[in-house]
Symmetry: C2
Subunit: 338 residues, 2 copies
Amino acid sequence: MKKILIGVIAASSLAFASSSLVQEAKNAGLKPIPQSQSELLKLIDNPKNPITKVKVKLGEKLYFDPRLSKSGLISCNTCHNLSEGGDDGVSAAIGHKWRKNPHHLNSPTVYNAVFFEKQFWDGRAADLEEQAQGPIQAAPEMAATPEHVVKTVTSIPQYVKCFKKAYGDDVKITFKLVADTIASFERTLVTPSRYDAFLNGHKNALTKAEKEGLKTFIQVGCVSCHNGIALGGGMSPFNIAAKYKYDNVGDFKGDKNGMVKVPTLRNITQTAPYFHNGEIWSLKDAVKEMARVQLGKKLSEKQADSIVTFLKALDGKKPHMMTPMLPASTEKTPKPLN
Amino acid sequence: MKKILIGVIAASSLAFASSSLVQEAKNAGLKPIPQSQSELLKLIDNPKNPITKVKVKLGEKLYFDPRLSKSGLISCNTCHNLSEGGDDGVSAAIGHKWRKNPHHLNSPTVYNAVFFEKQFWDGRAADLEEQAQGPIQAAPEMAATPEHVVKTVTSIPQYVKCFKKAYGDDVKITFKLVADTIASFERTLVTPSRYDAFLNGHKNALTKAEKEGLKTFIQVGCVSCHNGIALGGGMSPFNIAAKYKYDNVGDFKGDKNGMVKVPTLRNITQTAPYFHNGEIWSLKDAVKEMARVQLGKKLSEKQADSIVTFLKALDGKKPHMMTPMLPASTEKTPKPLN
């Protein structure tokens, strides 16, 4: 009887501790990916480019299609590899003709990018639709012209058929529409994790150590930048250009205020190397370095370990995707140019 | 009654024609992908590296893993893209640091490569196991050392676990074993088509025009090289180096007899550009050119069109594959080198 009673007290005090931690997390600006599919759909949708099943399926094909690039060799998936962490695992992106990103910028993950307030490291794109137009055209990335993209897509009857199915028979396939369609697919790349289950009320979804890590994460102040659903995705309140100089940061200057976008921490175990310049390979080092640079704090080993333990719980469940089978080129399809 | 009778006669004479065409095709050395799964498994299996479900699943991950390459950016799937025709759609393969294949060789498709008698354009590898070791190490392809590959795989606990599951707890993960595992996956990349259904006795699997195309294909003599299950895959009986010189053929000389491997015609609509040097983009042009160079025949437009009509029926059903999700790197994983 005594034993049971202790059990009950322990369980209820843990429950109390958990629900107060959930409250603390929410007060600090952390938000879960909603459990309800309809609520999630509302969050990820774009009224100006509404998600439909047909668009997502088509967007997926386009996302994986290297023929959208000038060389015929680089697709969105090359640098934002969905089999990896939604990125490429190298410090600075490498694109057309093996050119490194001239600003020495690291490819950010596309997973959960729908939750970012802005897109690109300097936040210059408002949403994924606008973002998707960038890398396709950028000379050191896919290096294509809008004309190349439209010619390629319209030269492939199966693509034309899909566009008609998605947008109606009188669709005019433009570069913008191709980018919009890719963005529709990207909007669905959401990876709910045990952390979300915890914030959604499943008290045992996180281990004790992970809960402690979350507490440390909040109390140290990581949440001042890493908040919202993405645990990041807004412009940093700190001036990165002033505060965070590395030798090989390149000529990247952040936005007009010298601010850089805060990367998401979701699936962070899969997206090394870290920071906008991909300088740090160890997650623990990255945690310590950010505390030092951004918060002016020297973390103890225990604190850093605790935060890392929490961060690992952000590994999410990726959508099940079939390897897309792309429609064949025709004789009208533009030839790759190397 | 008369009408019905004519119908019966027409149908039975078509059936007769079809079955004699099947016989003609088989006499000419053409063989279908067997319909029976057990028969197929026997054909694609390698007794020295027996196919198991676990090996195939692991091999698939490794096939898609760019971390096996020196740069961390190139996987087997980069040049043998399973979303496309199992190849890359460019004339000459482009690999590490954007180096073109020094012999100006076109990436052959991996689909149905299990049916090839030999691997590589000069036939220097006996099977897929031996072949898979090549491009991973080749300087203008994945440019990795065997040590890099072994270090990478063994640094990732989930891979080690998969290898144990596939080969037993005392497995020694070697470069050869990684290549063997990839080959096990590749052996399953088989694409049965309507043509196979026809040769397997489904008389209506091909249209009348396709059957006529098959007849032309046989009678013109294409079968002298394009035979067997792969409609290719053996060494050409014709001396390509002597007979088929293009300006940009590079320094490729074929095998020791100047022979080049005959490419498969399966999924040929998806594997332009054609020939070992990727010189010809139009399927019809390729057909005419081969007839001219290899058979000394000038095809009429009708003959060429008829053959192309048949070749289109070789488009097969690709295996359904999930986009593989790769296990995360660890701090022990070798860093990419660009």
